[in-house]
Amino acid sequence: MNSISIYRNIFVSVLLGTLFVVAMMMAESQVAVLSLIVLAAVSCIVLQKKGVIRKLGSDFASAEKFANGTIMIGALATAVVFAGDHFILLMLTTVLIYVVACLGLNIQFGYAGMVNFAGAAFFGAGGYAAAVLTMQTGLPHLVVLVIGGLVAVIVGFLLILPVLRTRGHYAAVVTIAFSLLFRTLVEVSPVLGGAQGSPVTGMVIFGWNFNEGYQIAGFDVSFYINYFLFALILTAVTFTIVRRVERSWIGLNMDSIRIDETASACFGMNVARWKVTAFTIGNFFMGIIGAFYAMMLGFIAPNNFTFGDSLIMVSIILLGGIGSIWGIILATGIVIILPEKLQIIQEYRFLIFSLGVILVLLYRPNGLLSRAARTYFPGLLRGAR
């Protein structure tokens, strides 16, 4: 294998991907949006048939650092293109926020095999922590983010016992019940603003006010660029941690528990310990990013965190491929951006969107980019060259 051709392949595909994202975000008319969707679908099918996607997959795996760096540059370039556009930056930031939340959920669902249908509740716990803390106290907002994560973890501890004692469908029911409970609780709580919601202060870090735009060489830059950049950093950090967890002995333990709990216990693994670990790490990420989301929107209400929103998070993971980090990132983009782009077809948009998702899962039952088999010696591919 030729390393130059690997780098070239990665560069070209990231460039094309970035261009596609830019074109998609710019597309306004029905024709433009629909033809871009068709273009993406057709080219994916063709490339899959020709084996190009498999080849690219191994290229990305063999030069991981370069690939991640290029994708990061692609994301930054997209932000530069839309620097003046509030709405598009808001959408892109929302995608990053959901990526972090779903990566958290992925540790629970994808690695440890714990179904959690209360993702939106933990996301909301962080959000409400941010609402109370920013409105009532003068705590620095970075601390608020961390506390948001901790609150989600603490709320999660309430569920640990029932979740550990139940399995499969029963565990799912426990989390569903909690998700409904959470919403009812915030709805009747006057401290949290009740059903009408609560305002949240915009983010300020070390005097860097996220809600202020800039002027660079006479060009107005949207204030959302602050949120986008910060969310990009959070995403990169979460991505790194989740990757490390996945590849470490921690991830190995979680995988083993997911695949066969009884066998793992027989080999002396402490099943409860790894489940609690996965649950805690996942909730922490969801809480942090929930707090960030609340600060960006400046307003939260119970309706943001319904059972339906938890289902959206679970469906992102299923669509992307359970346990697959890049799959989740791709799926989040589709699930967040596509319904918005389909606003032009009004009341039928969710019908079309759901049909699309069903079609994808029909032809790719393991998700868009299913998780590859564990490489016990990452980088071996390159070493063996």
């Binding site: 059903a195 919601g197 400046g298 309706n303 943001n304 606003q343």
Partner: protein, 388 residues
């Protein structure tokens, strides 16, 4: 042959007329206005009805030869979710082509989104959300609302009850935002009259026994027990009043209006309540709206609130006609708009952009049904309320 000639000439004339009108239409400047409502999700029936009604207002305006602009509608879906609401509000407000918008059915969505409109200076008329905080929770000049707020019925209630000659009141309210909001508004409005609020008792929304509160209330000897809460709680309060032999007139907020209230109480006869809004049939422009909506042949019914979206859009279009497509000019025109009659009744904004003339209709239970006060036998003097 002659016939063919005649048909051909009619067709030619028709074609000419079409091109001419097209030419005229093109001569008008295009103005884009927006609509936001829950087009999908649980309350989509209202969102779709609102969109169709807003669309109807625009189509009728475009057919009007006297209108200065040609209007175009951009409709977006907020799913009745605050986060999506903020998203689409940002989309609409940052779209430079949009001059103004008619927005939101759900209160929590509207409360969250008003900040965005203010931030990007988009003038909006809220058509369906009724939480007081949408207009009174801020000082944003861009925000207006044609529909009445949740608490505006209390003003009517106070005027109505004091008009009947009642002077001494006890309020029983549930301790949610709903009950508390009503209590505050009622107490505040009562100050301006010769009525007196003896005491207000807060109760939990699921409380079963009110003996303590009602016994204390009885000793105060009120003329009216005003109840602020929903019907299931209202049923229990009304029944226990009867049990304790309290001879005060019972009056409630709109939340108690339902058939279960009548079925569940032993003594519902003569209970009063304020209905928020009015049936579209009895609105000043209601029948006309119903006819035009039917003529336009929309697939979905206009629902109870369609007429509000229609009126809100007309208010916005009138402001554009007067001030032109510039956002700041429209905001100013809306803020200084003189009182004018629309299909839902008079529209006149106060300094928070709230329409001060909201439609509230007093109702009374007569023979096991809610009857409009003016049509009841109580108003005509055939029957009498408690203490009269």
């Amino acid at each position: 042959m002659k016939q063919i000639f005649r048909i051909a000439s009619i067709l030619a004339l028709g074609a000419l007329a079409v091109t001419a009108t097209n030419g005229m239409a093109n001569a008008k400047d295009k103005v884009t206005v927006g609509y936001i409502g829950p087009i999908t999700g649980k309350v989509s029936a209202h969102g779709i009805a609102g969109r169709n009604s807003a669309d109807l207002a625009i189509n009728l305006r475009n057919q009007d030869p006297n209108s200065k602009y040609e209007y175009e509608l951009v409709a977006l879906d907020d799913e009745c979710k605050p986060n999506i609401g903020i998203q689409v509000a940002t989309k609409m407000a940052t779209d430079k082509h949009v001059s103004g918008a008619v927005t939101h059915f759900c209160s929590a969505v509207a409360t969250g989104a008003v900040r965005i409109y203010h931030q990007f200076h988009l003038p909006v008329v809220v058509w369906g959300a009724i939480s007081p905080s949408v207009t009174y929770g801020n000082d944003y000049k861009e925000i207006h609302r044609t529909i009445g707020t949740l608490t505006s019925q209390n003003k009517v209630a106070v005027d109505f009850l004091t008009g009947l000659g009642y002077k001494k009141y006890v309020v029983i309210y549930d301790t949610t935002d709903y009950g508390k909001g009503h209590l505050e508004a009622f107490a505040n409005d009562l100050l301006a009259t010769d009525g007196e609020l003896l005491e207000a008792y807060g109760v939990a929304a699921d409380q079963q026994d009110f003996t303590a509160e009602l016994t204390k209330a009885k000793s105060l000897n009120p003329e009216v027990i005003y109840f602020a809460g929903l019907s299931d709680l209202g049923i229990r309060v009304r029944n226990q009043m009867e049990k304790l032999g309290i001879e005060a007139q019972f009056a409630g907020v709109s939340g108690i209006i339902s058939d279960t209230f009548i079925d569940g109480t032993t003594a519902s006869e003569g209970s009063l309540a304020m209905r928020q809004g009015a049936p579209v049939e009895v609105m000043p422009g209601g029948p006309e709206f119903i006819k035009k909506y039917a003529d336009a042949d929309y697939k979905d019914p206009a629902e109870a609130y369609g007429v509000y979206a229609y009126a809100a859009m007309n208010v916005l279009l009138d402001a554009v006609e007067e001030a032109g497509p510039d956002r700041q000019a429209i905001t100013k025109a809306l803020n200084t708009m003189p009182a004018k009659e629309y299909s839902i009744g008079m529209v006149e904004f106060d300094d928070h952009g709230q329409n001060v003339n909201s439609l509230v209709t007093p109702l009374v239970v007569q023979d096991g049904a809610w009857v409009t006060w003016d049509e009841s036998e109580y108003a005509s003097g055939k029957r009498t309320l408690k203490g009269k």
